[in-house]
């Protein structure tokens, strides 16, 4: 390892830092002013890449040279900027006052919509963009060849920083944006129309996202997975830098770029883990990131489970439902039982999240971590310990509980959006481990051959096993929600000051809540592994976490039974509609957005509201 190699690695790090900063800078700007974490920022980035990959070759065909190339990049970014304006006017404007959970879900709905539309408009295959005219030949640095386009990227980061700096410091718009970042109400009291300011901010943020995506076209093919991979990295950059701080994002991107460039030499398998560990350590030391300021969130506490009178009817209804479910194998066919098994598992998954969100007010955005840990716990038990289902299944809640204890210890100090981001990051770390540690986890392919023991192998028997375990665990969780522990969690959600004044310790309670919810989600994951016969990293991915949140939202976060109904409805819809249409994600995304805007109480919550009204 000589000096020239280190220099080249450092340059590689700088170029990825630049790319990362350009992508993340718009996200942090938009958050600073609107207080919305825009999940769809990665989608805007992806649209930028696809647009440039399609548009630039056409321009180059018309006239080959650097001018059409760079013009094409700029036009792509401007188009994305306009899409940002559309998004602000149609969606964001309606959810500025909503709880952060709803904001995250609604913008994730946009992610789903864009995924299907991109495939529809640009086709399912990756699009390799053109090389930049005049920058095709590598340059020689200390005797090593280095792509000259990377040098342009290295320069682009500081250029964008300068451009944003100029807008923020030297234009009236920028002054207003900075003022609004600090005190929106006072800006309004001085006669500034915030709606225009917000629209302008979204234009700028989306423009930068589009620019970031378009600039990647000569080095990476535009593909339909780039939205979620870049958004996860952007989250890390903005959180480490401090949400809302552009210089913070720049510094964070620099650190992360170098960490990736040199991390790959030291720990070639776990570069992603290193990056997310940086985030965990930063937040543990500075809960608001490098340059962030304390956030005062409100709204999330207004929603959640409230007390309700215990009714004998409920006990009878639950018993009757259990009898009906237990009798299902007598009438249902194999396929129906498979679907029913999965619904039960997902119901437990969503129900365990309800303990955190509905009861504790802890908006966990990485619940897939515990589901996935459970699934891998069971699968690894079978694969590496040679355990049977009976031996491996208990490993599922155990491993998930251990993971939840670790994650919980990191996040109980945080609140609001930082807690959401941190749980998301934790899930992404585990996703990265599962993806990269091929020898143990099988990497992308996962592990197969995770089947139940012979006695439980028939669908009907496995269904009954699942019913017994999921129903038992849900009843146990229900009992916990009604017990002093559940009340204490609600107390801390309702009023932290009052809870502390009567001697409750929020951190230990919340930590225990994470552990319990993690164990329950882990059991669901374990059952899922044996039901499908395999595990793979998608179980730990962002879409799995969002599935759980969608079930919660669908059922209603202020009802105890909501998640169960949500799981049933979502899984049935998915099972029925997905085979029929190429637009499942579009449909799901629009449904999520619609629910946030129209039925924020969810199905069960709305029914109850109508009954009471």
């Amino acid at each position: 390892m000589d000096l020239s190699f280190l220099v080249i690695q450092a340059l590689n790090g700088l170029s990825s830092a630049s790319s990362l900063f350009i992508a993340a800078c718009g996200l942090t700007l938009v958050f600073g002013v609107t207080r919305i974490v825009n999940f769809a920022h990665g989608s805007l980035y992806m649209i930028g890449a696809y647009t440039a990959a399609t548009l630039v070759p056409n321009l180059l065909e018309w006239s080959y040279g650097p001018v059409p190339f760079w013009l094409g990049i700029l036009i792509s970014a401007l188009i994305v900027g306009l899409l940002g304006v559309v998004m602000e006017v149609l969606l964001l404007r309606r959810i500025y006052g909503a709880p952060e959970l709803f904001q995250l879900l609604a913008t994730f709905g946009v992610v789903l919509v864009v995924q299907d539309l991109v495939v529809q408009i640009f086709g399912p295959q990756d699009i390799l963009g053109p090389r930049a005219p005049g920058l095709r030949a590598p340059v020689e640095i200390l005797g090593r060849r280095f792509p000259s386009y990377e040098l342009v990227l290295i320069a682009a980061g500081p250029l964008v920083l300068g451009f944003v700096w100029f807008i923020l410091k030297r234009t009236r718009f920028g002054v207003l944006v900075r003022a609004a970042t600090q005190d929106r109400e006072m800006v309004a009291a001085l006669g500034v129309n915030q709606a225009l300011l917000f629209t302008g901010t979204l234009f700028l943020g989306a423009f930068l996202a589009g620019l970031g995506g378009a600039l990647q076209v000569p080095r990476v093919a535009a593909n339909n997975g780039m939205d979620l991979s870049i958004i996860a990295e952007c989250f890390v950059v903005t959180v480490v830098g401090g949400m809302g701080s552009v210089p913070g994002a720049f510094l964070a991107a620099l650190i992360i770029g170098q960490l990736q460039a040199f991390g790959i030499l030291l720990f070639p398998k776990i570069t992603l883990v290193v990056v997310f560990l940086l985030m965990a350590i930063t937040l543990a030391i500075r809960p608001n990131g490098l340059f962030g300021r304390p956030e005062h969130f409100s709204g999330a506490h207004a929603i959640g489970i409230a007390s309700h009178a215990p009714g004998r009817f409920n006990a009878i209804a639950v018993s009757a439902l259990l009898v009906v479910l237990a009798a299902l194998p007598l009438v249902a066919d194999e396929y129906f039982l498979k679907v029913a098994t999965e619904i039960l598992i997902l119901a437990l998954f969503a129900f365990s999240l309800q303990l955190l969100i509905g009861v504790g007010g802890l908006v966990s955005f990485g619940h897939a971590a515990f589901f996935g840990l459970g699934a891998y716990g069971a699968a690894l038990g079978v694969k590496w310990l040679g355990a049977s289902m009976e031996g491996a299944l208990p490993l599922a809640p155990l491993l998930a509980a251990l993971g939840a204890m670790a994650v919980g210890a990191l996040v109980v100090r945080l609140s609001g959006i930082y807690l959401a981001m941190m749980t998301l990051a934790a899930a992404q770390i585990l996703y990265a481990v599962a993806f990269q540690w091929v020898e143990v986890t099988g990497g992308d392919n996962g592990l197969v051959g995770i089947w139940p023991s012979t006695w439980a192998a028939p669908r009907s028997v496995y269904y009954l096993v699942t019913l017994a375990l999921t129903a038992g665990t849900m009843l146990l969780l229900k009992r916990i929600i009604d017990a002093p522990f559940g009340y204490a969690l609600r107390a801390m959600r309702d009023s932290q000051a009052r809870a502390e004044a009567i001697g409750l310790e929020p951190r230990t309670h919340r930590w225990l809540a994470f552990t319990l919810a993690g164990a329950a989600a882990g059991l669901a994951g374990g059952l899922y592994a044996f039901s499908r016969g395999s595990v793979d990293p998608t179980l730990l991915g962002i879409p799995t976490s969002v599935d759980a949140l969608t079930m919660l939202l669908l059922g209603g976060i202020q009802t105890i039974t909501g998640p169960i109904a949500g799981a049933a409805v979502l899984h049935t819809l998915r099972d029925q509609i997905m085979p029929l249409t190429a637009f499942w994600r579009l449909f799901l995304g629009l449904s999520i957005i619609g629910m946030v805007l129209i039925f924020p109480r969810g199905l069960i919550g709305t029914l109850r509201y109508w009954r009471q009204a």
């Binding site: 916990i480 009604d482 017990a483 002093p484 522990f485 009340y487 204490a488 959600r493 004044a501």
Partner: protein, 253 residues
């Protein structure tokens, strides 16, 4: 033995002194009012006694035990109860569950996972609601109570910890006029009966002079006067602080 003794505490924020050499004491069964104009440092002093802020210097003793750096939770366990300027209750629970929650925490039962919470300490909670005249609100959701009732409920919650010292930050703020005296009469009676020392801040001078045994006047972070309501009312420094420079009066007309 003195119940609460505050010994020359200081607190400054970024170089600006919010409390300077503040010292006073509260005895059992005594109602002490802390008054002063906006920005005089009342909240700072109050939050240092409640545990939300730590003094830069000085000591706070409760029954001779040093609680200067104790957390709000530790203070609760040592016998400090408090109410907040904007009443803090658990809106998702019924009236009686709010009090039960405080009793559960007071008995170290908040980590139990099995026994339904609504069956625990119900009678004790009911007795406390009776004490503040809120029996009829026992099973109503807290979110549907009128604000005056929420204030009384908060008092019941604070009393559930069997406090020796009760801190009340603007106990009557936001209440209708006729409710104010009633609430303070109630506090007064309870304090007498249970020998609880009460320290409160208040803007309504009728409440202060009608209910306090002693009054402390804070101005720019210092206590400028302390004594019986009568003495404080006639203190020239206090009159100056509230009425301003008397020369300005003559100049203006």
């Amino acid at each position: 033995m003195t119940l609460l003794s505050v010994e020359s505490i200081d607190k400054s924020f970024g170089g600006v002194a919010a409390a300077r050499d503040v010292g006073f004491s509260v005895e059992r069964g005594e109602m002490v009012a802390l008054i002063g104009p906006n920005g005089a440092g009342k909240s700072t002093v109050f939050n240092m006694i409640g545990g939300q802020l730590k003094p830069d210097r000085g000591r706070i003793l409760l029954d001779d035990a040093d609680i200067t750096t104790a957390s709000p939770q530790e203070r609760f366990r040592r016998g400090v109860g408090r109410t907040f300027q904007v009443a803090q209750t658990f809106l998702s629970m019924s009236g009686i569950e709010n009090v039960q929650m405080a009793l559960i925490s007071g008995h170290h039962q908040s980590r139990r996972l099995w026994q339904p919470a609504r069956t625990l300490y119900r009678e004790e909670a009911f007795a406390l609601l009776e004490c503040v005249g809120m029996v009829e609100a026992a099973d109503r959701p807290c979110s549907t109570l009128a604000y005056g009732d929420v204030k009384r409920l908060e008092l019941a919650i604070a009393l559930a910890g069997e406090p020796k010292l009760l801190l009340m930050d603007e106990p009557t703020a936001g209440m209708a006029l006729r409710e104010r005296a009633a609430l303070m009469d109630l506090v007064s009676t309870i304090a007498q009966d249970a020998k609880i020392g009460v320290l409160f801040t208040e803007h309504d001078m009728d409440v202060v002079f009608g209910h306090a045994d002693r009054v402390l006047v804070l101005l720019r972070g210092r206590i400028i006067a302390a004594g019986s309501p009568e003495d404080v009312r006639n203190d020239p420094q206090v009159r100056q602080a509230y009425l301003g420079d008397s020369h300005a009066l003559t100049r203006s007309v």
